[in-house]
Amino acid sequence: MNDRNLVRGLVLIAISLAFGLPALRYPIGEFSHAGAGLFPLMVSGLLLLIGVVTVVRARFVEHVPLDFQARNIAIILASLCGFALLSHFLNMTVGIVFMVFCSAFAGSSYSVMRNIKIAAGLIAVAFAFQKLLGLNLPLY
């Protein structure tokens, strides 16, 4: 299972099914008068074909291990979602502070002092954006 080529093929098949099956529910129409479902169905059919070919091909080419490191991407996504949540319920300044402190876990070293400086700098930039460029940021 830990083969990049095989996983790639399976992912492609999964994506094609995720789009292709719902497309069946939309009106297909006919070629001269295409409905909403026809084009996505054709495209996902083609993608399915490519996915199957990739899976078959994976049996014949050399296996390459899949290198998926969940830690950093999880930290980054958590800081993004935390930023959005905090900006929604409190304000964006808190969101920025959280994002800096949370994402810093993914860095090669962790320093509270540095995080404070970065957060302060970014908040200043955000205020500059709000005041000078007229962006509508809910900073407070």
Partner: protein, 511 residues
């Protein structure tokens, strides 16, 4: 001839206003910066700045975005030469450029790259101002079937050029097309793939896709690598001798011509142009025996081609209305946001925009050569910023950029989702650039496809019968068959083909 000069003069009138000069300078500076730094390519930066351009006048906004794109081509050769940090479009500069640094000729390499880029840019602008209006007239002959076929050619070329594997690249294009289907169908009003979520009714935001797949995924990749770069501290002596200077010119001119030509072709652009120029220099240059071990020609040709192709790739976008690579697809989105449909009517309908943009490219060229040759050592201090400081800042800009498109926090979740998707794709060795192209061209392709079938009453023969689309489809057919045959031949010759064969740049860059 007189026409073009007259038009260019008109363009300079527009490009030389204070405001546009400022936007041009800003674009070039930001472009150089993102070219230098890893983690934010021109694609992510342009999509970041898209929402900021809502309040800027059209010409200024496009001048700035274009400046970012071609400015990044200058900047990335600097980081390639001094530190062997390759970005998407400076892989070739790492070969001879870095060898020259090892020999202590950094200044000469940087000077060569800067001057050659300048020459390349200038040649490309001449090509641009002659060819774009001409091609625009041809584009009037195109029907829906032809547009469809042309987009398919673009998909095939981009897939092959950027990923080196037709299969992977096509898969990404198709995924992009499918993502573009999310939202309300324009013809029938049916909501497709929205999962009944109201914020998906207008489709997935372009900025979310671009920042997720390029910004977030790239940051995570750099974090995974965990390598701290040591900043460049060597001496830089910029002034070349006359003998050295004379060696730059022929190679740069060769590169400019190759780059200008390859930039126009679908799927073309800086990357392929560099490789081609480097290969040609290796064949015909007077100093070909030195190339690969730090020759001036190895830097000059590819830098000129890089810059020339970056500019001529605007031609298909502005005269036919079909972007030929992912960055151009984003530029097209920028045009459309500003209420301008790129295509054969654009040059006649908005002459101040087209000629202003062309003229600004030359002004940008002057800015860039000043920024990148005399001031280059200041830029290198950018690398003293540790990545631990840089990446929260990039993340912040991604958030602000996504948010300010619609002033909607929900978009940040979509960006995060695409970040995960982009990271997964990267780990699966799928390049996200074709996805971007598919995403932007997908809706256009569907519209033209449906229109073509409507006209032909459902007969696919229409695609074959029209001379333009027939030829293009035949080309695709030949290409696909050639790929199949070469795969089977390879598989028969070697039971286990080496993994490197999939990526042309891996095979070309010496360690």
């Amino acid at each position: 001839m007189m026409d073009v000069l007259h038009n260019l003069a008109f363009g300079f009138e527009h490009a030389l206003t204070w405001q546009n000069l400022m936007f041009c300078a800003l674009g070039c500076t930001v472009g150089t910066l993102v070219g230098l730094l890893p983690g934010l390519g021109p694609l992510a930066t342009i999509s970041l700045l898209l929402p900021l351009t809502y309040s800027i006048p059209t010409t200024g906004a496009l001048i700035m975005l274009a400046g970012i794109y071609y400015g990044a081509q200058y900047g990335d050769s600097v980081s390639a030469i001094t530190m062997k940090i390759p970005h998407a479009s400076s892989i070739v500069a790492c070969i001879d450029g870095y060898q020259m640094t090892l020999k202590g000729k950094t200044g000469l390499a940087l000077f060569t790259a800067g001057v050659s880029s300048f020459i390349g840019g200038t040649v490309a602008i001449v090509v641009l101002s002659f060819f774009a209006p001409m091609l625009g007239e041809v584009a009037f002959l195109f029907g829906p079937a032809d547009y469809c076929a042309l987009m398919l050619v673009g998909f095939v070329c981009v897939s092959f050029v950027t990923t080196g594997s037709l299969l992977n690249g096509m898969a990404m294009c198709l995924i992009g097309v499918l993502l573009g289907q999310i939202g309300t169908d324009v013809t029938s009003g049916v909501q497709r793939f929205t999962m009944d979520l109201p914020f998906l009714a207008d489709g997935v935001g372009l900025v979310s896709v671009a920042l997720g797949c390029f910004g977030i995924a790239e940051i995570t990749k750099n974090l995974d690598n965990r390598e701290e770069r040591s900043p460049f501290n060597g001496k830089i002596n910029l002034i070349p001798t006359w003998a050295e200077f004379k060696r730059i010119i022929p190679s740069a001119l060769r590169g400019s011509v190759i780059g200008s030509f390859l930039g126009i072709l679908p799927g073309g652009g800086p990357v392929i142009a560099q490789f081609a120029a480097y290969a040609v220099d290796k064949k015909v240059s007077k100093y070909k025996h030195e190339i690969g071990s730090g020759a001036i020609e190895g830097v000059a040709g590819q830098a000129a081609a890089d810059e020339a192709a970056a500019r001529t790739s605007f031609i298909p976008l502005m005269s036919i209305g079909i972007p030929e690579n992912a960055v151009m697809a984003l530029m097209m989105a920028a045009f459309i946001i500003k209420g301008i449909q790129p295509g054969p009517n654009m040059i006649a309908g908005h002459p101040e925009l087209f000629w202003g943009l062309v003229a600004s490219m030359w002004i940008g060229n002057c800015f860039l050569i000043t920024l990148n040759v005399p001031l280059v050592r200041y830029w290198l201090s950018v690398f003293k910023i540790p990545y631990n400081v840089l990446f929260p800042a990039i993340l912040f800009f991604c958030c602000i950029g996504t948010f300010s498109v619609n002033n909607n926090l929900d978009d940040i979740y979509i960006t995060a989702a695409f970040g995960l998707g982009g990271y997964l794709f990267m780990r699966l060795d799928l390049d996200a650039a074709p996805l971007m192209l598919g995403f932007i061209l997908g809706p256009m392709m569907e519209e033209n496809f449906r229109r073509a079938l409507l006209i032909s009453r459902g007969s696919f023969l229409a695609f074959m019968k029209r001379p333009i689309s027939g030829t293009l489809l035949a080309l695709i057919g030949v290409f696909v068959i050639w790929q199949l045959v070469s795969f089977f031949l390879q598989a028969r010759k070697k039971p286990a083909p080496k993994a490197d064969a999939d990526r042309p740049e891996a095979a070309l860059v010496p360690e």
